[in-house]
Amino acid sequence: MIAGRLRFATSHATEFVDVTKLVGQEVRRSGLRTGRVHLQSLHTTLGLAINENEPLLLRDFQKLLERLAPGDAGYEHDDFARRFEISVDEPVNGHAHCRQLLLTGFATLLVEDGELVLGRWQSLFAVELDGPRHRELAMQLDGEFVSPPDAVGRSAFSPPHAVGRSAPLAGPGGANGAQNSDSDLIELELARQLMVDPDPVAVPMRRLMEAGGKRLRPKLVQLASQIGPRHDALRAASLAAAVELLHNATLVHDDYVDESTHRRGRPTVAAAEGAERAIAVGDYYFAKATRLIAEIGNVGVTSTMADALEAICAAQIDDVALRGAFPGDHDSYLRVVRGKTAALFAASCASGALLSDAPAEVVEALRRFGDLLGVAFQMADDMVDFSPSSGKPVGLDIRQKVLSLPLIYAAEDRSVGPEVRRLLAGSLGDEEVGRVTELVTSSDALRRVGDEARGLVDAAVRELESIELDGLRPTLVGIARSAVDRTA
């Protein structure tokens, strides 16, 4: 899923802006081959419509709107004496709101072979009803992607999975119609940081990062950093890159601890270059990330990230200790996951907001959002272990005796539980792992975990309802939903 904004300016009070070409360009730039592009107006006086771009017809539409909701009909919305908390520049625009009611604020277009699926006479319009203004459409693209060609050209990395990737899509009102996206900034900052490091540590880390990763944590940092009054894209990119380096440093040590041979389809640092090198690489990037964070010079951010790092390390010890009681129970699972995974999600959200001087209640709401999202993300990750289409070897968590909620639920299951527990208590060869996988998938465990993860995402989204997010809510909600609705 790729999410972003399409920005443009309008020049008339009522105007049919044909955005078909712009949306098509963004589809091609994204590398989407087959799927959907979803658009949503972020304004109450801007609609969307699909119709024919014939100038006389557009005048007919305009006249129709004027007849149905005349500008001089008198609207209660325009009676400022009866309204509360109106701004000094509040426009007289009751007619525009009423006209928008006659249109729609949403559109979904299909994409096939990298092109929008539209009939011969169909065009997509953003319908300005109270212009001229600067306008924004939220845009999400999902489906099957190939590597976006121009992103490859600009970035050192081209993640194969673009989940959560967000681009501030530029329209006529944007800077020259093209600007580096926030995601590009993260990739550039990561490339810049790795470029100056000594090869013995940089080469393995570059290999790990080039192999992909969802970049969810840095994306959360960047989004949260746009919420407060002091948004600084470069400082946010620096913090986001540090968070991603920190995350990857923990993965390098985790892979040694778990005796994993592959990650993201490539040999782990420990497998490829030995445990000693893996320890050194993990330590180097742990230290480098903490330095980059310290250099930002925001006490709240430094402290938040330090707390998260401590929680991750403590939870990792608990995780390994619990393998003696494999598969464990729900409470132990939550305790470990909140430290091991959710702590960095929460810290990413909170530190981004702190960086922008967001109010304390916003920081805390985002911290709770990140915590809930992190737990849900891990549950979805556990489910991927049972998905044959994930690209990962099925049953890896079982083999490595990694804490996994589907296994916990399957072990509790009345029907399959006794056999699951018996198998997990013994040695786990291919046959046993295969049988446990069968039992888990035949039980209710995966449905329960899926329901629980989606419930946590709902709770996370509710945390955003009470705070002002300056138009970022749809993107955050999109990231949260896509974090659990995935197969890889």
Binding site: P200, E276, Y284, F286, R291, C313
Partner: protein, 127 residues
């Protein structure tokens, strides 16, 4: 630092105290007389945790077993938090650079300056 505060900072790491952490801590404490009294103990503990942490991990030597590595990781993380909460930005950066230098040397198989010398030097960092 009071005994209670020290106890809190050693949560889950108590076992290390009698295995060399206390001696390492006292060695650093002796070098910190120029710092504010309430900072001395916390900075000394942070440095001691780093020294003990990388020794547990086997950085620059033989890799530690998984559980020992994780204990070393926790030492580094705890030290990082102590520095974040108590040290100046310059000292935080100097400590991080010291660990970067030690790790890079370990990764390339080159010798590095002694850990204690690097960390004591980091105490004197100013912006």
């Amino acid at each position: 630092m009071s005994v209670q505060v020290l106890d809190r900072e050693l949560d889950r790491l108590e076992g290390l105290w009698d295995q060399g952490l206390s001696d390492t801590y006292r060695s650093y404490l002796e070098t910190l007389s120029a710092h504010e009294p309430e900072m001395q103990a916390k900075l000394a503990l942070a440095a001691a945790l780093i020294e003990v942490g990388i020794r547990l991990q086997g950085l620059g030597g033989h890799a530690a077993p998984a559980t020992t590595l994780l204990m070393g990781d926790l030492c580094l993380a705890r030290a990082s938090r102590l520095l974040a909460d108590n040290a100046t930005q310059a000292v935080q950066v100097a400590f991080a650079k010291a660990i970067e230098g030690l790790s890079a040397a370990a990764a390339s198989g080159k010798p590095s300056r002694p850990v204690r010398e690097l960390l004591v030097h980091a105490f004197s960092a100013t912006a």
